[in-house]
Amino acid sequence: MDSDEDMHDANGSESLEDDFYSEDMGMESDDEDADYDFGNEETNDDAEDITFHRQQNYTILSESDIHQRQEDDISRLSTVLSISRFAACILLRHYKWSVSMVHEEWFADEHDVRQVVGLLENPVEIPNVRELTCGICFETYPRNIMSAAACGHPFCGACWRGYIGTSVSDGPGCLMLRCPDPSCGAAIGQDMVNKLATEEDKKKYARYLLRSYIEDNRKTKWCPAPGCEFAVDFVFGSGSNDVCCKCSYSFCWHCTEETHRPVDCGTVAKWILKNSAESENMNWILANSKPCPKCKRPIEKNQGCMHMTCTPPCKFEFCWLCLGAWSEHGERTGGFYACNRYEVAKQEGLYDESERRREMAKNSLERYTHYYERWATNQSSRQKALADLHSMQTEKLEKLSEKQSQPGSQLKFIIEAWSQIVECRRVLKWTYAYGYYLPEHEHAKRQFFEYLQGEAESGLERLHQCAEKELQIYLEADSPMKEFSDFRTKLAGLTSVTRNYFENLVRALETGLKDVDSTNSQAACSQSSNSKSVCGKGSKSGKNKAARSGGPSRSLDDHWSCDRCTFFNPGSATTCQMCEHHLPT
């Protein structure tokens, strides 16, 4: 992406962050008019460009596609080597469906290849006598009901049927079937199977052959989603490992787990192993409900966003993650969406005793619990958002279209918003696995990471809130409301801003936050401040105005804003307290 542009944007607004948060975290701003900045259209295009590139390095294959490719490969090889299609099939399967490999080996030493694979150079006819003894049942039969492979060892129909059937029910090994005679290695191909086996076994054999084409080939894999019948043909060496199947399941080509950018495959494997090992513990710890922090009634979370409101008469509003009052998530916490933090120092005194103990405890289980809980919450939020997206597509959109007299085609922005929420929940989920494995001693990195994560979290909450709760008003309205077009502008704006932010976040984390100086992380930062300028409700507060006119780095008298991470440092500091970046002189 083009970071120059973003930096430019960022410079204009980076000192706004404090105000911005205090306003937004209240989440009570539905009535305010939004003033969105659409100055980042180019970055939108960039984002689309990236998805486009990513789709180029793989092809989704349906069963008929696979069949077609397999047939093509076989036909081509059979023409080139002038051998039968079935012999070509046996050869290809032996060399894992690599045409070039077959060519190489065959032209290097045809005799040897034939020996290894079991393709005889000189086929032998069944002995020309009237009656023959079957080598399996030892019965004597007339010659015309006996069959043999290229080696001429005769067996009767019933024994062939049984022999092939036993091998087929044993599994894909039937593709390597040889003549029953122990001293003979002649290969039994599909032609023999089709001639001699039962209908059911023929089908199974064909199935194994098709599966082999995908499973034995290095370049292809089945989509791991349950019940999905598509396969993926992947081109190596072109960037992302993420594959999105036609069944809408996304997975990582490398480890076939669900897509997990920005976390790498090793971390995912560790995390999944850890989850399965400790899941019993976790089930116990994370019972599906939490008591309302005020009235202590158990509450089950059944909506996506973290902003909870207890049922009347309590009506206490709190954050699902930290159980702190929602009002504390605004100005008074200094503008940070603090719920992604494990350290409790800053919140000391704000939480009740049990909560604090939990947050303070250093033992690993509790630390793990912290990350697991957030990982799992985002996971279930994502499931919920997927279901919401579905219900939106199937019923609500139509209803909304009626209520607000809007043609369905103009409501696509709602679907886009929900798709974005689903994707963001996925990324956010994995950032918690990332956070868990981020070394404790890398203090600056941790803080920076948590800051970015917090931004992401709050940005997504904002989008989720807007797409879920604010939309509700328009769904329930009796007549079309004129504010709807504002809502459209707001939601579309939030969607694009959040998309950009998450794209940048992923890139920043993938580079391991290695040099916080890199354009990536800077882009991420600037993007975050960008999102602030977009989502900020105009310039309501005086401070906000002052900051804007104050311009970049040295905005307020005694403070300077780090141009690497945008942290607001006191004037006395010469290096950034957040990322230890030196103040440029």
């Binding site: 049942c137 030892f138 019965e139 019933a158 024994c159 122990p182």
Partner: protein, 157 residues
């Protein structure tokens, strides 16, 4: 079931007819069940099993000869590929390399060959396998010889 019975009957007739063909193998079908056989095999010469007579039992599956018979030693034997307690035999043709063209007679021949040429790298009897793998041929031979005398030879006197 019917096919396997027919095939076993053929083998039975063959065994009756060729009794003298292989003096080292004596295959006997159970009086009441054609799916149960026993065999007496002679220890091959120039091995520690020479002079011994070993009893094998066959349990034959209904899908025979598409599936291999289950064979084990009834006579105790000290051999790397025979389980010391159960008598189970580790032999490829009794597992994945089985072919329906093999017969009970040829299985017996394969077992005799295995007695003469142990495969210490896939041992069922680790003590025996370890002796051979460490090159202690004498140790292996004397152990095998002792058990042959104790279990596979007529008691003196």
């Amino acid at each position: 079931m019917q096919a396997s019975r027919a095939r076993l009957f053929k083998e039975y007739k063959e065994v009756q007819r060729e009794k003298a063909a292989d003096p080292d193998i004596q295959l006997v079908c159970d009086d009441s069940n054609i799916f149960k056989w026993t065999a007496l095999i002679k220890g091959p010469s120039e091995t520690p099993y020479e002079g011994g007579v070993f009893q094998l039992v066959f349990a034959i599956p209904e899908q025979y000869p598409l599936l291999p018979p289950q064979v084990r030693f009834l006579t105790k034997i000290f051999h790397p590929n025979v389980h010391f307690k159960s008598g189970e035999i580790c032999l490829d043709i009794l597992k994945n390399a089985w072919s329906p063209a093999w017969t009970l007679q040829s299985v017996c021949r394969a077992i005799i060959a295995l007695m003469a040429h142990p495969e210490p790298d896939s041992p069922l009897n680790c003590d025996s396998g370890n002796l051979l793998r460490s090159g202690d041929i004498r140790g292996y031979r004397s152990m095998a010889r002792m058990y042959t005398r104790l279990a596979a030879m007529p008691k003196k006197g």
